[in-house]
């Protein structure tokens, strides 16, 4: 199983960490949109989450239902230790690669 993360995977993992206990589809999508200015579709978010889960980097459980969701339950995702490790790895790789370059690239 590939240990390296794609960019979207990084973004989704970071969003989940930012969200803490409240990591589900809408939160992840909104967090990415708010911080990066991109607007990923739910299909993209879900595909990425499914891939991360398949890789064993996140795990999920079903939560509570609310009225504005049409009475459907949320699926909460939390990052597993393996996910944190993978994220750390890939962020370090980025930093390493950027070192010594134009100062504007150095601090991500």
């Amino acid at each position: 199983v590939a240990r390296h993360l794609g960019e979207l995977e990084q973004l989704v993992l970071l969003a989940l960490i930012q969200l803490g206990d409240d990591g589900y589809g809408v939160g992840v999508q909104r967090e990415i949109a708010r911080r990066t200015g991109r607007d990923p579709s739910f299909a993209t978010v879900y595909t990425t989450l499914a891939r991360l889960e398949e890789k064993g980097l996140v795990e999920s459980r079903l939560g509570d239902a609310t009225r504005e969701r049409g009475g459907r339950r949320k699926r909460f995702f939390v990052v597993r230790p393996a996910g944190r490790r993978a994220l750390r790895e890939s962020l370090r790789a980025l930093r390493t690669m950027a070192r010594g370059l134009d100062p504007s690239l150095e601090t991500p």
């Binding site: 809408v26 579709s41 879900y46 595909t47 891939r51 398949e54 504005e68 969701r69 459907r72 339950r73």
Partner: protein
């Protein structure tokens, strides 16, 4: 905010709910709905939010995502074997080849849509054979049988009363009396005066029919024998729409019918055309009012033995059978009564029995025969669509052989692959079916909007929708299954190998046969459709169309009508017409003015005459030729826009004292002098004396012109025109005095109508001027439905041709695109671009030619089949030649454009393509 308004698009949600993998469904839908309600809807508005939701849904359905491996709480999603995943795969396949999908769906949906619309129309009519009558149980029309089979066996009023009062089989038995031409009443609406087709019905007619009135109430039940104290009428729905401005306050309004004040009490339901009452009837009056309305006009010269006075005749009878009484019992009972009456009222034609015709039996109606042709054309459209799509699908299956082979090699079961392919084509067909329903809906809407007075409200029926969807699904299975079985049968090794090397020769041979089949089939189908369209166009409405023009104004001037006691003597009428002519001709914008008693779209009073040439009369070998004698004033033919084949128009010198002249119709000329010029010869015009002494009196006239007549006037009589002033004093006064004013104008004629009517009334306010309108308006008004039908069926023929063109183009272009690699190799080996293009061009034309050779006998066969038996003489090479020409152009373009494009790309890229 209402909860319903804030819900996301239901269809998209439904699709997601059924197509998403189960493990993801709930949370995904929830997330989407939450976002939709909380973020998107408040900030973007309903429309944009719905668009956003659909966008998300489509992306989700198309997304390629791994199966959910770990799913602790929900039941595990099924592996990629469900129909859901097949469907997703199919959607992806179609999205990936949008042109193929678009062409297939467009072709099929038009074919299916036109068919569904037709089924709907027929269903609508079958469900409501008499529109506006909720129950037709037991409704029958009654026909009396007489000893001599006269072609118009009128019933006398007395016979009807006797029959009605003695029978017990019906609750009510009602009579209908039509007004015949020349006796139709004139209605003064206050702002307009017009001639209106009317029908008189006996007192209990509406108790028999029980229509659901659009407005007001039906005619009250009255005693037919008593004179009416306060005259009332009901009007037809189209009349209410067109002439009374759809005014809902019309009930209680008084109009004048032949100067008699009549109160309108009701508007009949739309499309109310029961039985043999013509659909043109606009005014319904109680039979008891007939003496009041129809004071006998002067009818000099139109009496013959056995003719009954018009006031004492009824034309038809209608009744509703009592519950439990069968048609046979009623026939027997009324037959006995009729036989008992015998010759009491008409000794020359005693009654012998009755025949009953249940209303709503459509099997011998006009709708049925007209829809037979339309049905054939729509069937041809559907066949063309199916042929095209099946060939496209076959072609596609050939291309996908390698994909199929790979799947099989990787261990997929054959049934599994077949299902995959079938699901794809069923999806295609269902999409086309849905689009087809939309098309059918539009067609119905279009007809309803465009022809509101046409009768029934056409609406999609459930039957047509279900038939359409079933047909779509069946088409999908058939088109998908055959290629799928074919593609999965080939041995895996061969297919894989051929995919890389020898594929071109094999698959291009297949492609070639597709092109040939497509050309031949399309040609046959289009030829058959063309022929049907031609037959339909030729059959109807062309009789008058040649005279329709929007630069010609026609107004009917009927001096013979005595209105309010004002009588016009012949001298007075002649003087008025001359004065009228002079005054109108002086108006700015008016080019010429003339009169005639026999314009195709105006008054058509004519005397039946026999014409003959002196040579023929002398030989006594041949029967004289029958014709209609009408009058025309100077410049008539030029003014009316009727083409003179030979000779000249009437002039001012053709007056009472000058030599007798005539202009004859070309068919009359051809009958009299089959091999020679008619102009300059003498023709004998005579009135056939019906009563003894039966000796025809001829009057010689010199032919000065021959006028064109509509091509298919074989059934109607040709015309013989004589200057009005040269007409013999014994002629029917109506031909002498009732004429159509014909004015040729510089601009659209409708704009002159009001001014010209004013001009006439300034001369004498009592001149009865009726219905001033342009020739085109008159044509359109009288033939609305026919024009609609003709346009519709012509359009249908055009659709067939268009579909054939699209199909041929698609198949050829498709084939060339498949050979992009070959083109690349040729280019890499040094072929010049022009050479490659020429090669494919030649290839395309060669295939098309083979297609034509096969197509010609097929076309002849299809044309024969579509016309039915006994119509061989209509088979002409014209349509075939035209269709070949059109398809040839399409073939040329289809083989030139893609080849040019393919030859234009970098050879390396082309060679890599696959």
């Amino acid at each position: 905010m209402k909860p319903r308004r804030s819900a996301p698009p239901a269809l998209a949600a439904w699709l997601l709910g059924h197509l998403l993998p189960e493990g993801e469904r709930e949370s995904f839908l929830g997330d989407l709905e939450e976002s939709y309600r909380i973020a998107i809807l408040p900030s973007r508005g309903r429309r944009a939010a719905a668009r956003w939701y659909w966008g998300e849904a489509i992306r989700a359905l198309l997304a390629r995502r791994p199966g959910r491996a770990v799913d602790p709480n929900a039941p595990r999603g099924r592996p990629l074997t469900g129909t859901g995943s097949d469907l997703r795969y199919a959607v992806r396949q179609l999205v990936r080849s949008p042109l193929f999908a678009a062409i297939s769906i467009a072709l099929l949906s038009v074919g299916i849509g036109v068919n569904a619309a037709l089924v709907s129309v027929i269903d609508t009519r079958l469900a409501h054979p008499v529109a506006g009558v909720p129950s037709i149980d037991g409704l029958v029309e009654l026909e009396l049988q007489r000893i001599r089979g006269a072609n118009r066996p009128w019933t006398t009023f007395e016979e009807f009363l006797e029959l009605r009062d003695r029978q017990r089989a019906f609750d009510h038995l009602a009579a209908v009396a039509l007004t015949t031409f020349g006796e139709t009443p004139i209605v003064d609406l206050g702002d307009a005066t017009l001639e209106v087709a009317a029908v008189f019905v006996s007192g209990d007619y509406f108790a028999v029919m029980r229509p659901r009135m659009a407005l007001g109430s039906p005619l009250p039940v009255v005693d037919d024998r008593r004179a009416v104290a306060d005259p009332v009428a009901v009007v037809s729905y189209p009349f209410w729409r067109a002439r009374l401005g759809s005014d809902s306050a019309v009930i209680g309004r008084t109009v004048r019918v032949n100067r008699v004040p009549v109160t309108i009490v009701g508007v009949l339901p739309r499309g109310f055309e029961p039985g043999r009452v013509p659909h043109t009837v606009e005014l319904w009056l109680p039979l008891a009012m007939r003496p009041l309305i129809q004071s006998p006009p002067d009818r000099t010269g139109v009496t013959w033995p056995g003719r009954l006075p018009v006031e004492s005749v009824v034309d038809g009878m209608t009744g509703r059978l009592r519950p439990g009484v069968s048609v046979e019992q009623a026939t027997a009972a009324l037959g006995a009564i009729a036989a008992g009456i015998g010759g009491r009222f008409r000794p020359e034609m005693p009654l012998t029995g009755v025949a009953l015709h249940p209303l709503g039996d459509l099997s011998d109606s006009e709708l049925w025969s007209g829809s037979a042709i339309i049905g054939n054309v729509t069937l041809l459209i559907l066949l063309t669509a199916c042929a095209n799509v099946s060939i496209l699908l076959l072609g596609r299956a050939v291309i996908r052989r390698r994909e199929v082979a790979v799947r099989l090699a990787l261990g997929a079961r054959r049934s599994r692959v077949v299902r995959l392919l079938v699901v794809e084509s069923v999806l295609l067909a269902l999409l086309a079916g849905s689009a087809g329903i939309l098309v059918a809906h539009w067609i119905c809407e279009f007809f309803n909007a465009r022809f509101p007075g046409m009768g029934t409200d056409y609406a999609l029926s459930w039957r047509s929708v279900s038939v359409t969807l079933a047909f779509a699904a069946a088409t999908g299975i058939a088109f998908g299954l055959v290629p799928a079985l074919h593609a999965t049968r080939a041995s895996v090794g061969d297919a894989l190998k051929s995919g890389f090397s020898a594929t071109e020769r094999h698959s291009s041979r297949l492609q070639h046969s597709f092109v040939v089949a497509e050309v031949a089939l399309s040609m046959a189908l289009v030829c058959a459709a063309w022929l049907l369209v031609g037959a339909f166009r030729g059959a109807a409405y062309e009789q008058q169309a040649y005279a329709a023009s929007d630069r010609v104004l026609i107004a009917d001037i009927q001096f013979s009508r005595s209105q309010g006691g004002v009588m016009f003597t012949e001298q007075r009428a002649d003087a008025l017409l001359s004065e009228m002519r002079a005054r109108i001709a002086r108006r700015p914008g008016v080019e010429t003015v003339s009169f005639s008693s026999g314009h195709p779209l105006g008054i058509r009073n004519g005397n039946f005459v026999v014409v003959d040439s002196p040579e023929r009369t002398a030989s006594h070998a041949m029967e004289p030729v029958g014709a209609t004698l009408v009058t025309a004033d100077p410049d008539y033919f030029g003014t009316a826009g009727l083409r003179l084949r030979d000779g000249r128009d009437f002039t001012r010198t053709d007056s009472a004292g000058s030599p007798r002249v005539t202009v004859i119709g070309e068919h009359v000329a051809a009958r009299l002098w089959p091999d020679g010029r008619a102009v300059g010869r003498t023709v004998m015009v005579g009135r056939l004396a019906v009563q003894p002494p039966a000796d025809t009196v001829y009057m010689p006239h010199v032919v000065v012109g021959v006028v064109a007549e509509p091509s298919r006037s074989s059934r109607s009589l040709g015309s013989v025109y004589i200057p009005r002033l040269q007409l013999s004093p014994t002629a029917d006064p109506r031909v002498r005095r009732d004429v159509s004013l014909v004015v040729r104008t510089g601009g659209p004629a409708a704009g002159y109508a009001a001014a010209i009517v004013q001009e006439i009334h300034a001369l004498d306010p009592d001149v009865p001027v009726l219905d001033a309108a342009s020739a085109w308006q008159r044509y359109y008004e009288s033939n609305r439905e026919g024009i609609a039908m003709t346009n519709g069926i012509t359009l249908a023929g055009g659709i067939t041709l268009f579909m054939a063109c699209v199909g041929v183009y698609a198949v050829i272009a498709f084939g060339i695109n498949q050979r992009t690699r070959e083109i690349g190799i040729r280019m890499a080996l040094g072929a010049r671009r022009s050479q490659v293009v020429a090669l494919f061009f030649r290839d395309g034309l060669r295939l098309a030619l083979i297609g034509f050779v096969i197509g010609i006998p097929l076309s002849l066969l299809a044309m024969k089949l579509s016309l039915g038996s006994g119509s061989g003489e209509i088979l002409t090479p014209g349509p075939i030649a035209t269709v070949v020409g059109v398809l040839l152009v399409v073939t040329a373009v289809a083989s030139w454009l893609p080849a040019r494009r393919a030859a234009g790309v970098n050879p390396m890229e082309a060679a890599r393509s696959e």
